[in-house]
């Protein structure tokens, strides 16, 4: 089934224009007055911590179900409290202060919260356990161990074991995986009630538009699981580092690559996700490739038409630019990816197509020929034939164009696009007989044997994510052990 064609698509939306104006305001980075944390939040944070430790990555276990069932009204405070927890882990018993500052990704306005003395004490105790530092002086001083039940003690042991192996991120990595698992495996939980409009200052909020066949189906608030996961990973301290530096952590890189590939495979687009990935990994060819693919997809008809047809509340704008602007971004990202890895044939293939769409046909044809020379995958070779054919056709090289289309037709004999291209090419050349013969080849395809997989063109915009399951598995595998029993 081609989900990208037949099923709803979710687009990440920009914050409302009100928030956007705040981002542009002079002296951005403003702090709001601290708000008091209401009762019960630390208890929820503790439940979350236990669920995180119990979750087996990739599985829809009880812990997964619990977190997937939390409404957005719980997740938004959790975003703040989880951030406070990992900040406290970083300080490990040192008084980080009961007033915490949290800044959701993509927003300049920070949120400040103040915990009561009791709340903050419990937060410190949980941080000692989650950080695997129960034996250290700061945690002894607050007698953290005396306040842990057997389950939290086991979490502390697991976190300690990870710490001793050099990974101080036991909770953070697992929590990010839980939330990304929920976002990927329980899409229903991502639909949150609430109006779409101007978000509260400093609050983390996301909106999503569901689209199908280029038309808006629904616009709604989105649960902030991705936002929580990204926020947590921003605190990752790579092996040997005393400070958060996620841009030098391979698990974080794998997480972004795998989840971004998944998003593109499922057409669950989110620009902020890859923008943040590029900030962390500005020279990673795979991240740059996926960012470029996303922009190329945004330039495609399914998303462009949906954006143009959308009914949006006042003040809400969708973070999708014109097709040419998106293509120019795609061109730049593909170019940078190829600068890093010149033998990245799939990136070069798409780069060639983007150049062609931007009207740079000579350059496109050259890049496509070079790309085809490095491709072995049948599907990629099909695209190569089609795209090179199109570029050559535009350049007036009809024989070369015909060769490209015919090669694609041979690779996928049931595909309709090469036959349409051959017919139209012949008709444009004034050869109506050849045009009719080509279209007859299409009409002669046995209907009972045709299916959704016939024509790779139909899933071009998701094909870059075809390895998502493998990438996710590789990323998650190390975290399937040392799970709280």
């Amino acid at each position: 089934m081609i989900r990208g064609l037949a099923f709803a698509v979710a687009l990440g939306l920009l914050e409302s224009s009100g928030a956007a104006q705040q981002q542009r305001a002079p002296g951005s980075g403003m702090l709001l007055p601290a708000t008091l944390v209401e009762a019960g939040r630390i208890e929820r944070l503790e439940r979350w911590m236990r669920a995180v430790a119990r979750h087996v990555p990739g599985e829809q276990d009880a812990a997964f179900v619990e977190i997937a069932g939390w409404p957005n009204d719980n997740l938004k405070p959790l975003f703040v409290d989880a951030s406070a927890l990992v900040q406290t882990i970083g300080h490990a018993g040192v008084n980080a202060g009961a007033t915490m500052t949290v800044r959701p990704a993509g927003q300049k306005t920070a949120l400040r919260v103040r915990y009561s003395t009791e709340q903050y004490h419990r937060l410190q105790v949980l941080a000692c356990a989650a950080g695997g530092r129960m034996l250290e002086k700061e945690c002894w001083q607050i007698k953290a161990v005396d306040e842990l039940d057997p389950e939290l003690r086991q979490i502390a042991v697991l976190a300690r074991a990870s710490y001793l192996r050099g990974d101080r991120n036991y909770l953070v990595r697992r929590a990010a995986i839980v939330h990304s698992d929920v976002a990927m495996l329980a899409p229903g939980s991502m639909v949150a009630p609430g109006s779409v409009g101007r978000p509260a200052a400093g609050a983390v909020e996301r909106f999503r538009m569901e689209i199908s066949d280029g038309q808006e189906l629904d616009l709604h608030q989105s649960a902030v699981h991705w936002e929580i996961a990204r926020m947590l990973l921003d605190f990752v301290r790579p092996r040997g580092s005393d400070r958060a530096d996620p841009g030098h952590d391979d698990m974080v890189r794998q997480w972004y690559r795998a989840t971004a590939a998944w998003m593109q495979l499922k057409e669950d687009h989110d620009k902020i996700h890859l923008e943040h990935a590029r900030e962390l990994f500005p020279s990673d060819p795979d991240i740059l490739f996926l960012a470029a693919c996303q922009r190329e997809t945004y330039a495609g008809a399914p998303i462009q038409t949906a954006v143009k047809s959308a009914f949006l509340p006042a003040g809400v704008v969708i973070d999708v630019a014109s097709d040419r602007a998106e293509l120019r971004d795609a061109e730049a990202f593909f170019r940078r990816s190829l600068d890093v890895r010149s033998d990245f044939a799939e990136a070069r293939l798409r780069y060639g197509r983007v150049l062609d769409r931007l009207g740079k046909h000579v350059e496109a044809a050259a890049e496509l020929r070079k790309a085809i020379g490095g491709l072995t995958d049948r599907q990629m070779l099909y695209y190569g034939g089609m795209f090179l054919g199109a570029a050559e056709e535009t350049l007036g090289n009809r024989d070369a164009a015909r060769v490209g289309y015919e090669q694609s037709a041979e690779l996928y004999p049931m595909a309709q696009s090469p036959l349409l291209a051959l017919s139209q090419l012949a008709r444009h050349s004034g050869d109506r007989g050849a045009a009719l013969r080509a279209i007859d080849r299409l009409f002669a395809l046995p209907p009972e044997e045709r299916n959704e997989q016939d024509d790779p063109w139909w899933w071009y915009y998701v094909s870059q994510g075809r390895d998502a399951d493998v990438l996710l598995d590789v990323m998650q595998r190390p975290y399937r052990s040392e799970v709280l029993q």
């Binding site: 280029g214 038309q215 038409t305 008709r427 299409l442 009409f443």
Partner: protein, 285 residues
């Protein structure tokens, strides 16, 4: 993925039913040009016109009209119908009903064909005088997938080109293109070369049906933008009736180049009339 439309053709023979049974002649030479023209006065068809009543100007050169036919040439009616996800339930029923009513209204000598398109373009019924077969195929069509409107329109044009008969292509879509391989401008180029009149029916939305607008304009047809598909049967029948009221004006070009774009201007002499015809054609193709 978007763009514009199409025009005319050039055949050695005027399409009569006899010609339709011959092997298609794919000569690249222009021996005669035929132009489908709707002549109205205050919205009412003007009937009874003869060759001498018409004036055709081809690239600025006035031509001698050889022949004018009216309602006596069998039609090749090609239905190219959107069968994407959005066409389901009541809308599909209404579309089937509209197609069925149109097919019932064809004359015995007429032929019909059915192209269905979602992301997949399918010849559901080839061009045939067996209207029942086409109706049967229509009944079996169902909505699924995305919209390859441009690819579907191209397939319809090519069916029109496959037979020397007088071709009417009716394209219905309730959306815009999201998955075609072919570009709109390429298909519009084909339409300029084809002797097919395209009528489009689209459902009103925030997105303008630019491709259908251009395609119908270039071929001398018309675009109907309807609010509700409940009116679809009446719309389809209206298209057929209007098409039957068109004149087929034929002339042999003289004093003009054999290749390239020919701008056409069709007029009626000595009386007030509104003419709807294609604005030109690509010769040498």
């Amino acid at each position: 993925m978007r763009r514009a439309l199409a025009g005319l053709a050039a055949l050695a023979l005027l399409g009569a039913s006899g010609a339709a049974q011959q092997s298609p002649a794919f000569s690249s030479k222009i021996e005669a040009v035929r132009v489908d023209a709707l002549v109205t006065d205050n919205g009412q068809p003007v009937l009874g016109l003869r060759p001498a009543d018409f004036e055709v100007v081809d690239n600025g050169v006035t031509q001698t009209v050889d022949l004018v036919s009216f309602d006596e040439i069998p039609l090749n009616v090609i239905l190219a119908l959107d069968m994407s996800d959005s066409v389901a339930g009541d809308r599909l029923s209404q579309l089937r009903a509209a197609g069925g009513r149109l097919l019932e209204s064809l004359h015995k000598e007429d032929q019909a064909a059915l192209v269905s398109f979602s992301h997949e373009v399918r010849l559901a019924a080839k061009l045939t005088g067996d209207v029942a077969a086409v109706r049967s195929a229509l009944g079996e069509s169902h909505g699924t997938g995305t919209t390859s409107l441009i690819d579907g329109a191209y397939a319809g044009l090519m069916i029109g080109e496959s037979d020397a008969g007088r071709a009417l292509l009716i394209v219905f879509s309730d959306g815009v293109d999201t998955s075609s391989w072919l570009r709109a401008d390429a298909v519009l180029d084909t339409a300029k070369r084809a002797d097919v009149v395209v009528y489009g029916v689209s459902v009103v939305s925030r997105l303008k049906p630019e491709f259908l607008r251009d395609l119908t304009s270039l071929t001398g047809g018309r675009l109907f933008e309807i609010e509700k598909t409940a009116n679809l049967p009446a719309t389809f029948l209206g298209i057929l009736e209007e098409f039957r009221h068109r004149y087929l004006v034929s002339y042999t070009p003289k004093g003009v180049a054999k290749d390239g774009w020919h701008k056409l201007d069709v007029r009626v002499k000595n009386r007030r009339a509104t003419i709807k015809a294609r604005p030109g054609y690509l010769a040498g193709s």
